[in-house]
């Protein structure tokens, strides 16, 4: 199993029956594939639909797309709406889970994921509203990039929100930001606590209930 699949499978276990879920672009999108059997999850696309699913060949339509403008499909029971209501759902606390990628995550549980000053200024899109408004924010990302840990003492990149995220899932570990700091709760199959610590640029508290990452619901 590649690292992205591992992350997506683990995150999928955090989604429950009836949840409204928003998946960020890139890695988080993969999560939709691994929702445990028997759980009906409603996926929202912030451009204005709830009940989205992957595209169906032959039924692609210019008026039915995801936030990147790519074709999607709609499941029976889907609802479409304008941008004001779409973000009303997000900001108003009606979104159960958002899964987002990250550039940095720090000891306070703050996420930076929308710009690298002087290098990449795509704009925050919906990320700031999602992190501020969702009931549960899950960061799904590689533990390191270019040999450097993405989990750091303090974010040097501009923050997405001062709201503490709820869970971080990487190819090495599952970490929960808490009042006392970053709690290491799970290690990926075949990965030791020492490896996680060595690859993390922030203080980790090892949970007394540490376990190996489950991948099936």
């Amino acid at each position: 199993m590649d690292e992205k699949t591992l992350i997506a499978k683990r995150v999928a276990l955090e989604l429950f029956d009836g949840d409204l879920v928003n998946l960020g672009i890139g890695l988080p999108t993969l999560v939709a594939r691994y929702v445990p059997v028997g759980r009906h999850v409603f996926f929202q696309s912030e451009n204005g639909i709830l009940g989205m699913s992957g595209p169906i060949t032959g039924a692609e339509n210019n008026d039915l797309t995801d936030a990147g403008g790519s074709p999607i499909s709609a499941l029976p029971g889907a609802a479409s709406f304008d941008s004001a209501l779409s973000f009303g759902l997000i900001r108003g606390g009606h979104l159960d889970v958002t899964v987002l990628g990250g550039l940095q995550l720090d000891e306070e549980g703050h996420l930076a994921n929308w710009m690298v000053p002087g290098k990449m200024v795509p704009g925050m899109g919906g990320a700031m509203d999602l992190v501020t408004g969702a009931k549960r924010v899950i960061v799904a990302m590689q533990h390191s990039a270019k040999g450097e840990s993405k989990i750091v003492k303090r974010c040097t990149l501009p923050l997405t929100s001062v709201r503490r995220v709820d869970l971080v899932v990487t190819d090495l570990a599952v970490i929960e930001p808490t009042d006392s700091g970053l709690l290491l709760k799970e290690t990926a199959p075949g990965v030791t606590v020492e490896q996680v610590i060595a690859n993390t640029g922030a203080e980790l508290i090892v949970s007394p209930d540490l376990r190996t990452m489950p991948l099936e619901g």
Binding site: D17, F42, L50, G51, G77, A79, S80, F87, L89, H94
Partner: protein, 219 residues
């Protein structure tokens, strides 16, 4: 997924005495008639009710006032229910009068997670009393705060089993914004349909906002 369709009795049994409740409807049009009657039957009392108006004494939520189940009303109009005025003057019921457009924005603000809105309505009138004002480009606005409630009781034309709702014509009124602002949302629907029978573009309240559905037709 959990079945959202429950009995009228079960739905109302979830409401404790003293609850705050948003009621859809405008002069009882688009208001949840059966839920109101069941609240009376179960004698839920000490309620805070939030609605456009208190209808007429023997109509819609007007009956809750007559039955003395209401402690407080937040509303824009009580002119057609003399019982509300009588109980207000007697001090038996607290009434907060809110301009209709401000009421709509305050409920919407509560539902969409805004800390408040700035409105020109009411500036320089008695509505301004006790409120913060904010200047924007030399113009004065009132800072109006969000309204949320323990429950929102709605009346829909159609509901599918996921909880997607549609409303007809002027029966829509406050229902869609109240669906956003109730911690628990219960919709009474004339027609209950299988999932997929309401087209995505026709949905006026998305399923995920609705917790329970009851039928508006006695079965």
């Amino acid at each position: 997924m959990k079945n959202k369709l429950i009995s009228l009795e079960d739905a109302v049994a979830r409401i404790p005495d003293g609850a705050s409740i948003l009621f859809g409807g405008f002069m009882a049009v688009g208001g949840p008639t059966r839920l109101v009657d069941e609240i009376i039957r179960q004698r839920k009392s000490g309620l805070t009710i939030i609605a456009n108006d208190t209808a007429r004494p023997h109509q819609g939520i007007g009956k809750l006032v007559v039955e003395k189940l209401v402690a407080k009303v937040i509303t824009s109009h009580i002119g057609l229910n003399p019982d509300t005025q009588k109980q207000m003057i007697a001090g038996d019921i607290e009434v907060e009068l809110v301009p209709q457009g401000t009421l709509a924005e305050r409920i919407r603000a509560g539902g969409v997670g805004l800390g408040g809105v700035l409105t020109p309505t009411g500036v320089g009138t008695t509505v301004e009393e006790g409120k913060r004002t904010v200047e924007i480009d030399g113009k004065t606005f009132l800072l109006e705060t969000p309204i949320k409630a323990d429950f929102a009781l709605l009346a829909a034309k159609q509901a599918d089993l996921y909880g997607n709702l549609t409303y007809a014509l002027t029966a829509r009124n406050f229902n869609p914004i109240m669906a956003l602002a109730g911690a628990t949302v219960i919709a009474e629907a004339e027609d209950i349909l299988p999932v997929g029978c309401i087209a995505p573009d026709a949905v006026m309240t998305p399923s995920v906002l609705v917790d329970h559905i009851v039928t508006a037709r006695p079965r």
